[in-house]
């Protein structure tokens, strides 16, 4: 019987799942992914997680609780850095320890450190360590790793062309996305992947915007070369992977004449967002006249508050569009 590897549908899932999936399947493991976020998962997470953590980290705990009794291994890598010269949120590095101390009755956790800050080749080293849980054959691990990276890159490239991959598609959106000329409104939705694509956490912001005939563009739909080109114009390098992407993609989109507004989605209490959101806002206010709004997501944010803000925002965007004509 193949070993069952559990992956929480949370945090890095929204970015790296194609990589994990291909790799573990090539290793002959069976994947168990927790279900889409529900109130129960949220409640479970909030109950066991430390109080000071942000909502996404609490949710991660809930997703672990959802699958922990159904798997042989839990895959919670210690993510320190996923790109050369950059860090990610430090909580990602502490996840395996947080989960271990907060939840009981856990299966074995695969918590290999992944740190590409100094050297990209460290990812192969990490893959070998993970692979040895399943096989002794180094060649098998290497080929699985290659295939996984290939698959990840393909998904990422397609995403940049506007094709939202199945594993994170929020709602029914299936068509290719881009800045459409004939579409009513083009709205950039900037934020962490785990907020933007988890429709429970963001209270169906996609459906709400699409019902108002808005076409949504996210960071992942912007060509990474364009992101980097724009991010390099900043006076100082942003040392967060997400920060570079958020600011770079926002700067790129601001130059597109079809963009009608920017919505920044942030988690309450997020350290990185508190910097990056401000950077993005300043860029927008100083260089353009575009409508901009920050939506803060938290455990107790009511849906009515979001509805009012979105409605008013779309009213504002449309009011300005008709005024220009």
């Amino acid at each position: 019987m193949p070993a069952k590897v559990g992956i929480p549908r949370s945090l890095s899932y929204y970015q790296l799942f194609p990589l994990w999936k291909t790799f573990f399947e090539e290793m002959g493991a069976e994947l168990v992914v927790s279900g889409p976020t529900t109130k129960k998962i949220l409640d479970d997470g909030v109950k066991c997680c430390v109080d000071e953590a942000c909502l996404p980290v609490k949710l991660f705990h809930g997703h672990v609780a959802d699958i922990k009794d159904r798997v042989d291994y839990l895959f919670i890598p210690r993510l320190t850095s996923i790109s050369k010269g950059e860090y990610i949120c430090p909580k990602f590095g502490g996840l395996p320890d947080m989960v271990r101390t907060s939840l009981h009755g856990l299966p074995e956790i695969i918590s290999t450190e992944i740190n590409l800050r100094k050297n990209k080749r460290n990812s192969l080293k990490a893959a070998m360590e993970i692979g040895h849980y399943f096989t002794d054959k180094d060649s098998q691990i290497k080929s699985a790793y290659k295939k996984a990276v290939g698959c990840y890159n393909l998904v990422k490239d397609n995403f940049e062309k506007g094709y939202i991959p199945d594993f994170i598609r929020p709602g029914k959106t299936a068509e290719t996305k881009s800045l459409e000329k004939d579409r009513n409104l083009n709205i950039a939705l900037v934020g962490h992947t785990y907020n933007i694509y988890d429709s429970f956490v963001n209270m169906n912001i996609w459906r709400k915007l699409e019902n108002k005939n808005a076409n949504i563009i996210t960071i992942e739909m912007v060509d990474e070369k364009a992101i980097n080109r724009n991010a390099r114009q900043l006076p100082k390098k942003i040392f967060w992977n997400y920060g570079r992407k958020a600011v770079g993609s926002a700067m790129h989109l601001l130059n597109e004449k079809n963009l009608d507004g920017v919505i920044y989605v942030m988690s309450f209490g997020c350290g990185i967002d508190s910097f990056v959101c401000d950077l993005v806002e300043r860029r927008i206010r100083r260089t353009t006249d575009l409508p901009f709004i920050v939506i803060t997501l938290d455990e107790h944010s009511g849906e009515a508050g979001l509805d009012t803000r979105l409605e008013a925002f779309i009213d504002m965007v449309r009011w300005r569009c008709t005024d220009k004509k």
Binding site: T38, N204, D307, A312
Partner: protein
């Protein structure tokens, strides 16, 4: 009038009063706004359902066409709306904190045994306001109790509270926004002369209180409804009698999935009129084939 947490009853009373005041006239259009806008729209049969931010902006512009800043403080929430070249340029609404709203003042006034209507005049009598921490309604209260025990005059404490609320409002909502004149101050709290004085002091600018300051949202919704009905379409308005029918709302937990949504159902004489509050749309889209809550 205050809803007192019972919007249906308040709406019924309001409509009854209106019917008595207006006599036999034809209603050509109706609009609803505010946090109870969906509920109210089902009961009265509204032609437009508009969020309060847009409604406030439309109303303010109608009274003062060149308005640039709207400060609005109501019972439960507060907003700032910035207009540029005659269109809404930016807005913000208070998040979960109630320290910048009318309910904060209400609570502190009742603690000091001052009727809320006289609250402002107490503030105006003070010449050395006491510094009160306005960051949080709970902390402000303990701060205030402490200042009372120290022996400060009530007038000075009240003025300090007004300043604390204004400080909190400006820090929270107006952060980074350019507050240009003309500035309109609307919402129920605009009746409080102490707050207005504190705003003018903090901003160093003149604050205008429009004639219908306490019903600007409703005024805006009416204007939007009027604009729509000018295209001479038939109104959805059900008439005053319909509003006086027996309505009741109740909530229940849907057991369809582990989201356990709290679904709100609106009944009239045991007939289900509308439901909302579900994430998936299973219940809200079931009636009349249209979701009642703008999603």
């Amino acid at each position: 009038m205050r809803t007192g947490g019972q919007p249906i009853e308040a709406l019924r009373k309001g409509m009854e009063y209106l019917a008595g005041q207006l006599g036999n006239i034809e209603i050509r259009g109706a609009g609803t706004t505010g946090s109870g806008r969906q509920l109210a729209s089902v009961i009265i049969g509204a032609d437009i359902v508009k969020n309060e931010i847009t409604a406030h902006a439309v109303a303010a512009q109608n009274l003062v066409p060149e308005v640039k800043t709207i400060l609005e403080i109501g019972g439960q929430d507060s907003k700032i709306i910035i207009l540029k070249n005659g269109v809404v340029y930016d807005f913000a609404m208070n998040t979960v904190c109630a320290a910048g709203t009318g309910s904060f003042l209400d609570r502190q006034a009742s603690r000091l045994n001052i009727p809320i209507e006289e609250f402002g005049s107490y503030a105006l009598r003070s010449d050395s306001p006491v510094r009160i921490a306005g960051r949080c309604a709970v902390f402000a209260e303990s701060d205030m109790i402490h200042k009372q025990q120290m022996g400060h005059r009530v007038d000075d404490i009240v003025r300090g509270l007004c300043q604390a609320l204004v400080r909190n409002y400006l820090n929270n909502l107006a952060k980074g926004k350019l507050i240009a004149e003309p500035i309109l101050f609307q919402g129920g709290v605009a009746a409080n002369v102490g707050i207005t004085a504190a705003f003018e002091e903090a901003l160093g600018k003149k604050v205008i209180i429009p004639e219908y300051y306490d019903v600007m949202g409703a005024y805006g919704a009416a204007l939007i409804a009027k604009r729509k009905m000018e295209k001479s379409i038939d109104t959805n308005f059900k008439g005053f009698d319909a509003c006086l029918r027996d309505y009741s709302a109740r909530s229940r937990e849907c057991s369809g999935c582990s989201n356990v949504c709290e679904v709100i159902e609106l009944f009239s004489n045991d007939e289900l009129l509308a439901s909302w509050g579900d994430r998936c749309g299973k219940w809200s889209s079931r009636l009349e084939g249209r979701p009642l809550v703008a999603r």
